[in-house]
Subunit: 362 residues, 2 copies
């Protein structure tokens, strides 16, 4: 498979038809695993890392996954390819920008990915569309079980799974849910969500995880603690808070519609107008407007635009995706131009003005 | 004629096909005249003013104008009607908001208008499309001559025409040209134009004349001095400066295209995007975006939009025009909604995306 085949659409987890898909983009569980008979990546030299990668690759490629699995040797790929996989949430920035023998295996639906020689020898990730953290956990468990058929993981009877960083010891699990919370963001109630979430020892991060600022009103809620809790408790902890945030977002959406429908519609339509007309647009501005349009689609303010398309555009308008699309490296200024042209094409009105101005005139 | 018949299009002087129509919207000459055998309006009581209005109306309606002439008795019209005529540049704010017997006669093409009982008994105005101040002067002279067949104007052999305010004594003439100077405004060179114009004893005003802030990058340049100069010198004074401002604007447009074409195109297209998508929009914001779109039409950045349409929209999106269009009074917030719907209808894309995204992609 050529990676460029992926560049025109997002992974299946973006299809937007999962439970509570209007607010929950995706649910993800990742498990950190290390081979019992090898040094951690922080200690291993390149030959050992190459041996680890080869072992994992062999096992992965011979395991019986429900879908086709591809392996990408990141040592052989250029920086754009790495960033491309980061943008698709298949690998972390750390893996992309790292050095030495490392890679990623992922399924054709992009629900499963297994990073090799990131901070741990293996980082198993399962992504599901919408609010399905339990499903993601089952999926990750299944992958974990399949791989245990061919690999022996470092496990301590008292501490649990051993990991390169002590914060991951135990379950080695991070459970996270990505939420789209535009109404809470506009109304500045989002700060209250942050406070409540932090009190529950959960973390809030942006679209691209740790160390990224929230953009496009997308927030990832995840657990912080991996030690001293069974996996089910980790999942439960995150799961418990999600419905309350969803309900809060819905409530504020209704309040905005009741109190200032016209101003909200105006904000949404202007965002679409800019995406359809701009000749230069940054990633950050694109995400802001996409967020408004996504809200518009979910509130049926905007019709004729597919939720899947909007979800996809959050990913496809990122820098490496644009460079794959153009088939060449682009300077930042040039990217803004290519991004604008790309958005115009994808959001073009189909038959006359999609908004049907007559029907919403007065 | 019902005034509402006018509300769907602007006067002929907005048709945009006059000389230098890309930069010069219109040229205007007005003459202040008073009847010799009556007190100035500042001194006359209502019965006398009514007599004056009646005399003028009689003379106007029996004069042989090249076009049909209508007379509106403003004492009988409501405030919206008055503002409507102000927005069309047929009368002044002062006349609209005044009291007592007063009116306006205007031709079907709206090139000629004669205000009655404004500051002076008569204010004769001739408007021409584009850079045609000489033509406007000839037109005003012709109207003046026609009316002198039926009326005797207050004239002093040494001072010239006598007017209610001493600043108008002499020729009673104001010659003005309305310019669209977006490139000078964006690049902030407009301040230099103001300085040069003031040094020549000319005034710079906004779209609606005295006391109005420039909006939509529209500027009226007019003479200040009416006394001690023959009419030809007044016209010449204004005429001399216009080509230099036009050349300056063209030069900056070329510089912007050469140095930052993409940023300029982006600005223009975003303006159009907002006009095509907004659900709430103020007059001020509308004029700003129309200015950018007008520049885009003139630079052939935007195609498929008629200059006449953009010129018209400057006037038709004003509050009183919207109220005529809706056939009822509108609160300011409601106006912003009606204005947005009106602009969407008038600027709707015709066949698919008018901007043809493929052709301007990279």
């Amino acid at each position: 498979m050529r990676l460029s085949d992926l560049s025109s659409h997002g992974g299946e987890w973006l299809r937007g038809d999962g439970p509570e898909g209007d607010i929950v983009i995706s649910s993800r569980v990742r498990l950190a695993r290390n081979l019992a008979d090898h040094r951690f990546t922080t200690r291993a030299a390149d030959p050992e890392k190459r041996e680890i990668a080869e072992k994992v690759r062999e096992t992965v490629m011979h395991s019986r996954f429900a879908e086709r699995v591809f392996y990408v040797d990141l040592e052989k790929e250029d920086a754009v390819q790495g960033e491309f996989l980061v943008e698709r949430h298949l690998i972390s920035k750390e893996l992309a920008r790292g050095e030495g023998p490392r890679g990623v295996a992922f399924g054709s639906r992009e629900a499963i990915s297994i990073m090799v020689n990131e901070e741990d020898h293996l980082r198993i990730q399962v992504l599901q569309s919408g609010n399905q953290l339990e499903e993601a956990w089952k999926g990750a468990n299944a992958v974990d079980g399949l791989l245990e058929g061919g690999l022996t993981f470092a496990f301590h009877p008292r501490f649990g799974y051993l990991t390169a960083c002590p914060t991951n010891v135990g379950t080695g699990m991070r459970a996270s849910v990505m939420l789209h919370l535009p109404a809470l963001a506009y109304s500045r109630h989002i700060q209250k969500v942050f406070q409540a979430v932090h009190k529950m020892s959960l973390a809030v991060r942006g679209l691209y995880g740790e160390g990224t600022e929230p953009m496009g009103d997308l927030y990832q809620i995840s657990n912080q603690v991996t030690l001293g809790l069974p996996e089910s408790a980790v999942v439960d902890n995150v799961c418990r808070v999600i419905p309350r945030i969803i309900q809060y977002e819905r409530q504020i959406r209704e309040e905005l519609l009741a109190r200032e429908r016209r101003a909200l519609e105006d904000r949404i339509w202007r965002a679409l107008g800019i995406l359809r007309h701009a000749r230069l647009i940054s990633t950050q501005e694109t995400l802001e407007h996409l967020s408004a349009v996504r809200l518009g689609v979910n509130l049926a303010v905007v019709e004729g635009i597919d939720l899947k398309l909007v979800n996809d555009l959050f990913i496809l308008s990122q820098p490496a995706h644009l460079q794959k699309l153009e088939g060449r490296p682009l300077e930042p200024g040039e990217r803004d131009e290519v991004r604008a042209a790309f958005l115009r094409r994808r959001l073009a009105m189909k038959e006359g003005p999609a908004e049907n101005p007559e029907s919403t005139g007065t």
